[in-house]
């Protein structure tokens, strides 16, 4: 029993609420020369471990030599990033100066004035070369608050061996994909219990919306200045119907599974051995195809020992990748993952923070992002991703990718988990149109904040 927690939650909530009363930024004198900045510290919040250490060191070293000030990098977990931003950003005494946040989380904060207006730097930092869908997510009308940091997107990882045994080819259209994965599940060439042709969790809406997007539908649109949920529009419904068929015929994932670690189902070397080291059951392989962000490839492959540790090593004979094809054969619009970066409105170091952004958007750093497998914000440096199959799939799938609606209430929709709920009910419903309409009615009032 944890009997203190509720109190802690209440207390911290109340303290958070009180934080806003202590606002009122002060004007720091402009920082000009490096010597003046010697005692200054700028704090950068990075989300999760996506930015590799090498890049962090580069930022710190470059920042020190350019400005003379210290750059402090603090890593925040994705899970409670919104909570932390909500409580820290309004507090001038404790706010981080520069923050990374999820692209779809941006509108929530830009619309309440959490970030500094950086429209005047926009052209200098890359202007129209920057990934426009992300720029839009970070803008309110024409004012730029948050700019793209990096992009990633979701593509397909598949088992070449099983696709081959089932006699299906890598699809070139969405329709071919839908039928290929159903064939594999039905064929089940390895004769594995509960085998999925394509493993997609019922509540996994971030991957599921690809079918809505690919059929020309959308989650929400702005009509006469008001956001409206559009799950029951004919195009969205067409996509949802295809998804329902996949959930019923190709996927054996539970209706309440989300998008956590799907690679568990496509790897097979976690074989089950008996005492003599003989293989008892064939494998715990459970799916021929999954959809995941590009970095998932580090977790997919054969199990090998490296420096005494068991790691996954990609095996080209068994595994392959492709971008989900659209109805027209071009890559389907999938959910664009990635981050934006912004300066806190309450920062005490506006000039130094702007200096940090200049370093982030410099050609050197943009290329380093690409080298680390993160899609650079500036389209001039996309080649730095390299030309292996992962880079190719990333570029293909991102070429047509789409964001969730830039509605002020979007983060509220996500955190209310209403989309998980809706997608989780798709498989078992007999009245998909009615269900979609019911959830449109739930979501629309939340969208406008």
């Amino acid at each position: 029993m944890n009997r203190r927690l509720p109190l802690v939650v209440l207390t911290s909530a109340a303290l958070a609420l009180s934080a806003c009363s202590s606002g009122g930024g002060s004007d720091e004198p402009a920082a000009t020369s490096t010597a003046d900045n010697a005692g200054e510290t700028v704090t950068l919040w990075l989300a999760g471990g996506d930015t590799p250490d090498e890049l962090r060191t580069y930022l710190q070293d470059t920042f020190a030599s350019e400005t003379g000030a210290t750059l402090k990098i603090e890593e925040q977990a994705w899970g409670d990033l919104v909570t932390k931003l909500t409580t820290a950003l309004p507090d001038a005494a404790n706010t981080p100066d520069v923050v990374e946040l999820g692209n779809t989380q941006s509108p929530t904060f830009t619309n309440v004035g959490a970030f500094m207006d950086i429209s005047d730097m926009y052209d200098e930092l890359g202007g129209d070369k920057l990934l426009q869908s992300f720029v839009e997510a970070g803008s309110v009308d024409d004012t730029k608050y948050a700019l793209p940091y990096y992009f990633g997107s979701r593509y397909m990882f598949y088992r070449k061996d099983i696709w081959k045994k089932a006699g299906v080819e890598v699809p070139t259209t969405l329709e071919e994909f839908n039928s290929a994965v159903a064939t594999i599940a039905e064929d089940n060439p390895e004769d594995i219990k509960n085998f999925s042709g394509f493993f997609i969790g019922g509540q996994d809406w971030r991957n599921g919306i690809s079918w809505i997007f690919a059929n020309g539908g959308d989650l929400a649109t702005k009509e006469d200045g008001q956001w409206v949920s559009t799950l029951s529009d004919p195009a969205s419904l067409e996509g949802l119907t295809q998804l329902q068929t996949i959930q019923r015929e190709a996927s054996k994932a539970p209706a309440d599974a989300k998008d956590q670690s799907p690679w568990l189902y496509i790897n097979d070397s976690d074989t089950i051995l008996d005492e003599e080291g003989k293989q008892t059951s064939k494998t715990s392989l459970a799916a021929a195809t999954i959809m995941a962000p590009g970095w998932a490839h580090w977790s997919i492959g054969d199990l090998v020992k490296k420096d005494g540790k068991q790691v996954r090593e990609w095996n080209d004979d068994t595994f392959g990748v492709f971008a989900l094809p659209g109805t027209d054969g071009e890559p389907a619009p999938v959910f664009a993952g990635g981050s934006n970066i912004a300066i806190s409105a309450k920062t005490q170091n506006p000039e130094l923070s702007e200096e940090l952004l200049r370093i982030v958007f410099s050609p050197e750093y943009q290329k380093m992002l690409g080298g680390a497998g993160l899609g650079p914000a500036n389209s001039d440096y996309v080649d730095s991703l390299g030309d292996d199959e992962f880079a190719q799939a990333l570029i293909d799938s991102a070429s047509n990718s789409k964001l969730t609606p830039a509605a002020p209430g979007w983060a509220a929709v996500e955190s209310s988990q209403v989309l998980e709920e809706f997608f989780g009910k798709i498989r078992d419903t007999d009245d998909l149109a009615g269900l979609a309409q019911q959830y449109d009615e739930k979501i629309t009032p939340m969208l406008n904040g």
């Binding site: 927690l5 909530a13 109340a14 309004p90 959490a114 309440d256 989300k258 509220a412 209310s416 998980e420």
Partner: protein
């Protein structure tokens, strides 16, 4: 029968002999202002600390629950007074009543099961020899001392639909349909799992408290009953039960209050599976409204409702304590 009252210190706190108050070295004149003020001065730090730690957040909560307070207000927009609008909106919202009914049912069922199981373990401890009992007590304390997130991780592994111990065991016992069964998908089985986890975590406290109560029952009473030919069940029913009743009622009320505010277990299970909006209890509902949606006004109003329900539940506890004091 010797009428022996149990002491009603909160279970677990030391209730040993209190040293007799020592006479003050320099006796003061009776009725002097200083000596009348002294007790208040001594209490003052505690009161201030309580006010700061409890009064302030509760005050904020009350104030915020009367305002429209969203993310924009958090970032400096002036909040708007809306009177009881937040409460009115909540009371007319069937979602809230669903959550309240679920929470109350969950807390009553879980508390009853906890006290029943805890009581049974206490009776068992009372019957065991010294070393077995010690082993049992250590095991109970270890379960109780386990950090909640660590314990939850293991529980989530146990009920995992694909590789969980539970499904594996069931399949090996011949229940083939258990393979791949997802226990968290349906709200009912979700709450059964949650309830089992909460019971597991609370039984040690209940068992040790009731056991402490049982040890207060005089050996001579039991011997007298045995001479009169009372069976084990009769002794439990007519001698132990009435004598530990005060402990039982306090433990029961504490469990009700704690189980009403349960948060961590539900939140972590929701993260592992299930449909959050169908499995919310009051704790997770407030979290979703406030921290999730940024609607601090409504979240505060729900928190105030929880406070009222808790006060209503603990009223009896406080009153019976007061009655025993006087």
């Amino acid at each position: 029968m010797p009428s022996r009252t149990l002491d009603h210190d909160p279970p677990g706190s030391a209730s040993g002999p209190v040293p007799a108050p020592t006479r003050s070295a320099a006796p003061r004149r009776p009725g002097s202002g200083a000596s009348r003020r002294l007790p208040y001065l001594l209490v003052l730090p505690t009161v201030l600390l309580l006010l700061a730690a409890l009064g302030y957040p509760v005050g904020w909560q009350l104030v915020t629950s009367l305002r429209r307070f969203g993310l924009a207000q958090q970032f400096g927009a002036p909040p708007q007074w809306v009177g009881l609008d937040n409460y009115a909106a909540l009371v007319s919202d069937p979602t809230l009543w669903g959550v309240v009914v679920r929470s109350v049912l969950f807390c009553v069922v879980t508390a009853l099961v906890t006290v029943a199981v805890g009581g049974a373990v206490a009776v068992l401890m009372n019957a065991l020899d010294r070393w077995t009992r010690l082993a049992l007590q250590v095991a109970l304390l270890l379960a109780w001392a386990m950090p909640i997130v660590a314990a939850m991780t293991v529980w989530i592994w146990i009920v995992d639909w694909r590789r969980g111990l539970l499904n594996w065991a069931l399949v090996h016992l011949g229940v083939d349909s258990a393979a791949g069964h997802n226990w968290l998908a349906e709200p009912l089985s979700f709450f059964v799992v949650a309830s089992v986890v909460v019971v597991w975590m609370s039984v040690p406290f209940v068992a040790l408290s009731i056991y402490a109560g049982l040890t207060q029952v005089g050996q001579e009473v039991i011997e007298a009953a045995m001479l009169d030919g009372a069976s084990g069940v009769q002794r439990l029913r007519y001698i132990y039960a009435p004598l530990v009743a005060p402990v039982l009622s306090i433990v029961m009320l504490l469990q009700l209050i704690w189980d009403l505010r349960v948060f961590t277990q539900i939140k972590l299970l929701q993260d592992a599976g299930s449909v959050a909006n169908e499995t919310n209890l009051l704790g997770t509902y407030v979290y979703q409204l406030g921290t999730g949606k940024g609607d601090f006004g409504t979240a505060s109003a729900v928190s105030v409702l929880i406070l009222l329900i808790t006060v209503a539940l603990s009223w009896y506890y406080v009153r019976s304590l007061m009655a025993q004091e006087s």
